[in-house]
C-alpha cells in the first residue's frame, strides 16, 4: 500500500465519518440532557430527503439544507413532545420516528418525483461543491505534507469543515458554558436543576432541538454532499452506527471525533477491499461491516473501559412525586 492509497482511504474516511460525526454530536447533546435518542437514523433520513428534494426543486443547496434542518427539527420536537411533555417511553418514540421517516420519505418522494423514492440527481448549485483550500496546488510538490494537504485536508464540502468545527464548539458549550453545565446537570440529576430554579422541560427541549439541527446537517450532507440526491433508505444504519460511536466515545465530544473517524475508516476499508488477507486468516467484508457493532457490544460489556451513560437518561422528569 503506497502513500497515495493511504491518502485516498483517509480521504474517504473523512467523507464517510462526517455524517456519523454530526449525528453522534446530535445524540451527545440529547443524551447528555437525559433524553435517549434512537431516532437519529430517522431524523437523518428525513433531513436528507427534505434537503435533496428542496435543493432539486429550488436549485439552491442552501435552501435545501434549510429545509433539511426544518424537517429534522420537526421530528426532534415530536420526540420532545412524546418524551418530555407526555413523559412517554423515549426508546419507543425513537423507534416510531425511525419508521415514520422511512415511510414518509418514500411516500412523499414517490408522489412528488415518481422515481421510486429517489429525488432527481442534483447538479451545479443544487449540491455542495468541494472547497479548494488556498495554496493546495502550490504546495503539492512539498513531500508528504503537500499531497496530505491537497488530498486530505483540502477539497471537502463545507459541511465537512462545519462538522469538524462542531467538535470543539460542542466541547466548549458543554464544558465551558453555563448552558452546558445546566444541560449536563439535567441529564444527571434533573431534580437538583429544578431546585435551582431552572426549567428542566426547557433545557431538555433545547437539547432535543440542538440534536435535531445537528441530525439535519448530517442528513443534508449525506444527500447533497456525499451523494448527489436522495435514495430510499440512504442512511443505511448510519444513525445506529452514530449511536454506537456515542457509546464508544462515552458521551464525550473529542472521543466522538475519534470514534466516528474509526468507524468511518472501517467503512472506507470495507468499501475498498472486499476481503482482507491477513496471511493466517482472511477477514470477510461482512466482518468489517459488522465490526462497529461488535466493538460497541464489547465496550458496552464493560470489559474494555466501562461506558457509563448519563444517570437520568431515559427517565421522564416528574416535578413532584
Amino acid at each position: 500500500m503506497d502513500y497515495a492509497t493511504i491518502l485516498q482511504i483517509l480521504d474517504s474516511t473523512v467523507r464517510l465519518g462526517t455524517p456519523l460525526l454530526l449525528a453522534c454530536l446530535a445524540g451527545l447533546f440529547s443524551e447528555r440532557a437525559g433524553i435517549f435518542d434512537i431516532g437519529l437514523e430517522g431524523k437523518m433520513l428525513m433531513a436528507g430527503f427534505a434537503a435533496a428534494a428542496i435543493a432539486a426543486v429550488s436549485g439552491s443547496v442552501w435552501i435545501g439544507v434549510a429545509a433539511g434542518l426544518c424537517a429534522s427539527l420537526a421530528l426532534a420536537l415530536l420526540h420532545g413532545l412524546a418524551s418530555i411533555t407526555f413523559r412517554g417511553n423515549q426508546l419507543i418514540s425513537g423507534v416510531a420516528i425511525n419508521f415514520l421517516a422511512s415511510g414518509l420519505t418514500v411516500l412523499i418522494g414517490q408522489k412528488w418525483f415518481a422515481l421510486g423514492g429517489r429525488t432527481p440527481s442534483l447538479e451545479g448549485a443544487a449540491r455542495f461543491a468541494p472547497i479548494e483550500l488556498p495554496f493546495a496546488e502550490v504546495l503539492l510538490p512539498v513531500p508528504v505534507a503537500g499531497p496530505l494537504y491537497r488530498e486530505l485536508i483540502s477539497g471537502h464540502s463545507v459541511l465537512v469543515y462545519v462538522a469538524f468545527a462542531a467538535v470543539p464548539a460542542a466541547w466548549w458549550v458543554l464544558y465551558r458554558s453555563r448552558f452546558g453545565l445546566r444541560l449536563r446537570a439535567v441529564g444527571e440529576n434533573p431534580a437538583a436543576v429544578d431546585t435551582a430554579g431552572i426549567s428542566v422541560v426547557r433545557m431538555r427541549y433545547a437539547a432535543v432541538a440542538i440534536c435535531g439541527l445537528l441530525c439535519g446537517l448530517a442528513g443534508a450532507y449525506l444527500a447533497t454532499g456525499l451523494s448527489a440526491g436522495f435514495v430510499k433508505e440512504m442512511t443505511a444504519g448510519r444513525g445506529y452506527i452514530a449511536l454506537a460511536a456515542l457509546i464508544f466515545a462515552k458521551w464525550r465530544p473529542w472521543y466522538a471525533l475519534g470514534a466516528t473517524m474509526l468507524f468511518g475508516l472501517l467503512e472506507a476499508i470495507a468499501n475498498r477491499y472486499q476481503n482482507i488477507d491477513l496471511g493466517a486468516v482472511v477477514l470477510p467484508v461482512q466482518f468489517m461491516q459488522a465490526l462497529p457493532y461488535i466493538l460497541t457490544v464489547v465496550i458496552l460489556a464493560g470489559f474494555v473501559g466501562r461506558a457509563i451513560p448519563p444517570r437520568a437518561g431515559g427517565e421522564p422528569y416528574v416535578k413532584e412525586r
Binding site: 418524551s83 426508546l91 418514540s93 416510531a96 419508521f99 414518509l104 466482518f287 460489556a301
Partner: protein, 368 residues
Amino acid sequence: MKRLPDWADVVLVPLISVVLAFVISALVILAIGENPVEALQIMLTGALGSAYGWGYTLYYATNFMFTGLAVAVAFHASQFNIGGEGQATLGGLGVAVVCLAFDWPHWTLALAAATVGAAVFGAAWAAVPAWLQAKRGSHIVITTIMFNFIGASLLNYLLVNVMRPVGSMDPATARFPAGAKLPTLFDMTSALGMPLFKSTPVNVTLFIALAACVAVWLLIWRTRLGYMIRAFGRSEPAAVYAGISPVKITMYALLISGALAGMMAINATMGEQKRLILNAVEGAGFIGIAVALMGRSHPFGVFLAALLFGFLFQGGAELALWTTIPRELITVIQALVILFTGALDNMVRMPLERLFLALRRPDGEARR
C-alpha cells in the same frame, strides 16, 4: 383509587390511540392526493374480500403473532427487546440447518425439529444481550440493535460463502427437501373436501402461532415463572426482596422472547420460501413492537393486533398494485401506531383520566 376503570385502561385507551393513528394515516393519504376511503376499500377487498386475500393476511398475521409475543414477553419483564429482527434471522438459520440436515421422511418430524432449531437459534441470539443486560448492566435496547446488524452480516456471510449451493449466484441455500414441506391450509382444506386459500402461503404454522399465544398466556398468568417475570417487571426491588433473582428472570424472559421471535422463521422460511434467503424477515421483527404495544402485551391483544397488521400488510400490497400509493404507507401506519400506543400513551390517558374523574365525582358525593 384507580384513576381509570379497568375496561377503559384495557380497551378504551388503546382503541383511541389506534383510531388516532389511523386518522392521521388517512390525512397522510389525503395529503399525497389520494382518497383514503377508496384506499381503505381497496385494502378491505384485497385483504379480506376473498379467500386468497385472507390466505395472505393470515400468513402475515402468523409472523406477527410470533414477533409480537416475543416483544410482549420481554415487556412483562420490563425489557425492551428490539432485536426480534435479528433473532428471527438467526431462527431462519436454525430452520435451514435442520431442514437441510436430513432427507426428512415426514413433515411432522421436520416441523418438530425445525421448531426446536428456530427456537434454539433465536434464543441463542438473544442470550448474549440478555446476559450482558443481566450481569453487566449493558442496555438491552442498544445491544439488541447491534445484534440485529451483526446477525444480518453473519447471515450475509454464511449465505454468500458457506451455504450457497455450488454454481448458484443467488445468496440463498438450496431448496429444502420435499419431506420438509409444510402442508398449507389449502392442502389441509382440500383433504377435507372444501378447498380454500388456493395458492396462498398460509400453512400449518398458523396453528403453532395460535398455540404459542395460549402458551404465553399460561406462562405469564398461570405459572410461577410468569408470576416472577411480572413481579420483576413491575418492581425490581420488590422482586429482589421476595427472593426473585433479577439475573435469572432477565435471562429467562429474554431467552423465551428470542425463541418466540426465532420461531417466526418456521412460517416464513420453512412454510413460504422453502429455502433460506437474505432478508427473509422483512421487518416482521420490528412490526412485533407495534403489535405488542397495541395488544397491551396480552396474548389475545397480540393475536388481534397481529391480524390487523396482517390485514395492513396484505392490503398495502394490494394498494401498491392498484394505486400509486407505495407499500411504504404501511411503514407510516406502523410508525403512527407505535407512536400513539407506545410513546404518546399519556396524551390519550391524561384527558381520559380527567374525564373519568369528573364523571365519578357526583356519585362519590351521593354515596357519602
